[in-house]
């Protein structure tokens, strides 16, 4: 009986933390939850205009290609940065109450997942209105890849949240890393477009995030080919990484209270 109520409480605590972080971001802003949509879509508009009108590139289905890239990149960016800060942000309650700290990490990540969901819904609507075929398999494939990314980043968050308590400038390093990642990932461009200098083509082509992105696009038949075995491999690696992260976290989390 007590076991059930403890688990019930942990679930409720998790829900409360997610609700709180969501409210905190959008509570007093005028546009509220709309900001979730405005950021990627305004980025999209700017990039689209620059790329097609100014630079005169012509990639088939470019708007959706670009949009999917931006949305997923935003997803990864949020998972990485928020995941890293998840323990530091909750220092208040961590120092006063004993609860499984994994909940603090997971509740921070879930908000990124919710944002992705909202953005995807809008993309699907746009795709339908522009005549692109949206199949159920496409959507499921897209969600599958989102899961791979989520699980991997969860593992990453297990490592970074603990490490950044001891080394606070990890945040800056990750932000820099994400910025660099942006430009070696085929978000704006395609791997084959002639804009990439030859020295970087292998990096861009081999970039796992790029591969994942292209698979999402492939699922909707916009670009590239679907490669399910490869994605299963990726999922396996992500799970292994997450498990390692979990072990690292469990082992080190007891000592963090003294480093705040």
């Amino acid at each position: 009986m007590k076991f059930i109520s403890i688990n019930r409480n942990l679930f409720d605590l998790f829900v409360q933390l997610v609700k709180t972080s969501f409210k905190m971001r959008y509570q007093n802003s005028i546009l509220g939850v709309l900001w979730v949509l405005i950021k990627p879509y305004s980025t999209f508009l700017v990039m689209y205009l620059v790329w097609t009108k100014i630079l005169n590139q012509n990639i088939p289905n470019y708007p959706i290609y670009l949009l999917l890239g931006i949305i997923f990149y935003t997803f990864v960016n949020e998972l990485v940065i928020i995941g890293q800060m998840s323990l530091i942000d909750r220092a208040g309650i961590i120092l006063k109450v004993n609860f499984p700290r994994q909940i603090a990490v997971l509740s921070s990540l879930v908000s990124a997942l919710i944002n992705l969901g909202i953005n995807l819904i809008l993309v699907i609507i746009l795709m339908l209105s522009s005549g692109i075929a949206v199949t159920l398999s496409g959507i499921l494939y897209c969600l599958f890849i989102a899961m791979i990314i989520f699980i991997f980043c969860w593992g990453l968050a297990f490592f970074t949240s603990i490490i950044s308590i001891r080394f606070r400038d990890l945040k800056n390093i990750l932000e820099l890393g994400m910025f660099l990642l942006y430009w070696v990932t085929p978000i704006l461009f395609t791997v084959s477009s002639g804009l990439i200098p030859s020295t970087f083509t292998s990096v861009v082509a081999g970039n796992p995030l790029g591969i994942l992105l292209n698979q999402v696009r492939a699922g909707f038949n916009i670009y590239d080919q679907v490669n399910i075995p490869l994605m299963l491999l990726y999922m396996f690696c992500a799970i292994v990484f997450a498990v390692l992260g979990g072990v690292f976290f469990q082992h080190n989390v007891k000592r963090i209270a003294e480093y705040f």
């Binding site: 409720d12 709180t20 409210k23 905190m24 309650i93 006063k96 609860f99 400038d169 390093i173 480093y259």
Partner: protein, 417 residues
């Protein structure tokens, strides 16, 4: 036969009855001189070992608290009390070799309003704080009205908490916290906050916990509270357990530690001399005041078993004999006069030639715990004019073995039928 059986299972029975077991627990903090938590420090330590200072906060603590015990934890600031609480609450981990066992659910009241988010409304914070403290949403739904009522915040429950006064915050936080049904509570000086009304409410709740036989570990600087509420007290000083047992004796030990000066003073000058005011024309001048017990011994702390003798010596500065009486007033720490009387009221008519001494004897039996200030005056018998007046120049500490509260302890009888 029973004894033999018992000897085979002493631990099982013991652990059933114990709520908290602290075994050989020490806690050391490491502070780096270079406290910048950056990668630079990682590199620099490769080449130069930054000085890491070891800071021993607790040393070899062994405590066993039985279920249902109400234990008070006292000690000077910095003695390690809060660290011990955090260790028991599972927030810190003991150094290698130490072990802490907790049997039963534990709710720490280390800070009221843990997790309170100022942007959210009172309602939202009830759920947030409540789940942090271990309650489920369903439970909070059922207790919501009660929480709001106890905190007296029905009108404001939907407004953001940042608009609450500090009193409102404390009421809300406390109201949520007491709904948690745990076996063990750890209270860290939380009764010290709030106005009188709130203090009364919190006392009531603590008493309810006591009646429900909850295990409570209570940290406070309020020795009166420790005396009245606790069955047992533990004193921590210099990072170790100094005393453990009956609250009255542990508090005495505590007083001795925080007022070591009093011991020295007892040797050098009259016990309990404090700076007060002295005025009067000094036709008759008070030369000496001694506060002792009936045996003539000057003590740092008197108990309710003592009879306090205030011995006042004085001399006549004029050449003529003078009719006089002595007045004494005893006040408490809050400035109230507990008792004020004089020898004239007691039909003492004296004439002073050169020197004299009057002893005012007062039964300690009527006092409650606290520090008392003594005001003494010598008056002209006929005009009742103060000839020499020493206002609150002396003090003595009273430790009561009884548990009465209020300003004085009156003798009474109880008839139960």
């Amino acid at each position: 036969m029973d004894k033999i059986l018992k000897s085979f299972e002493p631990n099982a029975r013991e652990s059933q009855e114990l709520a908290i077991k602290v075994e050989n627990v020490s806690k050391t903090f490491y502070t780096n001189e270079d406290t910048k938590f950056s990668l630079r420090s990682l590199f620099s330590s490769f080449f130069r070992q930054g000085k890491t200072k070891k800071f021993r906060v607790l040393r070899n603590v062994n405590i066993e608290i039985k279920k249902g015990e109400f234990v008070g934890l006292i000690g000077k600031n910095g003695s390690g009390k809060s660290t011990l609480l955090k260790l028991i609450a599972g927030i810190y981990n003991p150094d290698h070799g130490g072990k802490i066992q907790v049997n039963g659910s534990l709710v720490p009241f280390l800070e009221l309003g843990v997790g309170f988010n100022t942007e959210l409304s009172g309602r939202e914070n009830i759920y947030l704080n409540g789940t942090i403290l271990g309650m489920t949403k369903k439970f909070l739904d059922s207790k919501f009205k009660e929480i709001v009522k106890f905190a007296d915040l029905a009108e404001f429950i939907e407004t953001p908490v940042k608009n609450y006064s500090s009193g409102m915050l404390v009421r809300l936080a406390f109201s949520i916290a007491i709904q948690s049904h745990a076996d063990i509570y750890i209270l860290d000086e939380i009764l010290a906050v709030g106005d009188e009304n709130f203090q009364r409410k919190s006392r009531k709740v603590i008493n309810r916990f006591k009646r429900e036989k909850k295990t409570i570990l209570f940290v406070s600087h309020d020795t009166n509270a420790i005396q009245t509420l606790c069955d047992r007290a533990i004193l921590i000083d210099e990072h170790e357990v100094c005393a453990d047992g009956n609250p009255a004796s542990v508090i005495q030990e505590y007083r001795r530690l925080i007022e070591p000066q009093a011991e020295i003073d007892a040797v050098k000058m009259p016990e309990g001399k404090t700076t007060g005011e002295s005025f009067g024309e000094k036709l008759i001048e008070i030369t000496d005041v001694k506060i002792t017990d009936n045996a003539g011994k000057q003590k740092s702390v008197y108990t309710t078993a003592d009879i306090i003798n205030i011995s006042i010596s004085y001399k006549n500065n004029s050449s003529e004999p003078h009719d006089y009486y002595i007045g004494v007033a005893i006040g408490n720490e809050v400035g109230q006069v507990i008792t004020g009387t004089n020898s004239k009221n007691y039909q003492q008519h004296s004439t002073l030639r050169q020197t004299g001494t009057t002893i005012y004897k007062l039964a300690g039996r009527y006092f409650v715990d606290g520090k008392y200030y003594v005001t003494i005056g010598v008056f002209d018998y006929n005009t009742e004019e103060a000839l020499h007046f020493l206002s609150q120049m002396y003090s003595f500490d009273m430790l009561s073995y009884g548990k009465d509260i209020g300003q004085i302890s009156l003798p009474a009888e109880w008839e139960v039928s």
